[in-house]
Amino acid sequence: MQNFNYLEPGSLWEAVGILEGLEGKAFPLAGGTDLVRTFKRIGFREHGVINLKKIPELSGVKFDGQVMSIGALSTVSELLANSEVDEHFPVLAQAARALGTPQIRNLATIGGNLCTSSPASDLAPALLAYQAKIIITGPNGEREVAVNEFFKGPGQNVLDRGEILTRIDLNLPVPGTIGAFLKHGVRKSHEIALVNTAVLIIPVRGSDKIAVARIALGAVGPTPFRAWQAEEQLAGAEGGLPQFEEAAKIAQELASPIDDVRASADYRKHMAGVLVKRALFQAWGGKV
């Protein structure tokens, strides 16, 4: 029986090489808050981790006035402490605030959160709404994937053997963009979402009309997803509760949640609609 293997590559290429060579026996370690739990469940023996923390290019948040580049190893707390995230991507900041506990946020990373690919990720809906680009490095070099194409199922994503998610790029939203993130659970904190949603609205200047709306939902399908049809319903429409209710109804129909110990599928589906309506209304400046 093989021992648990702990490796600490100092460069991205070394990590990619090791990862490719170890045939799914060793997993990249970021914050560890999901991976360590998994190992505790399945056993450490015969597995290993490739700790990515010694790889310099995976850390840090950079903003050049147009694009925010978030290193995959940026912790959720680092996102929250970054005033530019709060100022330019407030919906991401709201989502980060809703994730886990302070202790978890100090460990958990944005890259790890995406690679775990939980349908109930809190960061994913916000990143979907901001149309994030995922930058991946692997044996064949670097590639870029739109975040809405990244997830493939619960715990599954587009990463191939030897590939590492290195950073997330966000384009600065159009001036005047408004948005909201809402999470519904049994408790106010320390909760896995029963449903969560991130919405962004770009209003037509000087009018009550909506130019573009983006609506992303989590925990109510095999992956977090964009409610495209609901977005289309709002494009060009007047902003207001009746329109938001209509869009929320469409979004609700796109939800395909599961029944589990935490909530029934019916309840989650219903709440998906309620949450989308509330988020749109709140983003628009209304009180819920």
Partner: protein, 177 residues
Amino acid sequence: MKREIVLKVNGESYQVYVSPEKMLLDVIREDLQLTGTKKGCEAGECGACTVLMDGRPVNSCMVLAFDAVGREIVTIEGVGGLEGLHPIQEALVEHGAVQCGYCTPGIVMTAKALLDSDPNPTEEEVRKALAGNLCRCTGYVKIVEAVMDVSKQISESPELREKLSQSQEFGAKTVGR
């Protein structure tokens, strides 16, 4: 395969010989014999094992000891000093915010990290900061009152503020065996 690593805990460097699957929590409790840090859920839920890593509270049950190399770890043994309890500990006692006491070391560490970074939090901020520390006895009210009381003491007493900023180093250097 066991390897030798050096962990910096409460200002002291410890050489330990551990397996790579060993958690920071287990090294702290078993190898360093610092049993003030408690083992609760072992799944990053309850906060009983909270220690500070580079000044921030983390669940030590979720951190591989190997991954803590090079980080500054502070456990409950590194809080306060030889001269007595930390004001947070005193306040918890005075407010009756300790019943079985199992969650208390974790609560102290989280509250310390909060007050070190923001000595004047609102009650809401205290509650949010403590959201990762479960207590099954007190109902939290007295814990929150105790932390708010320390915050009030700090704002009213420049000497206490001074003492706390010193005791961070003092406590770390003199306690922790």
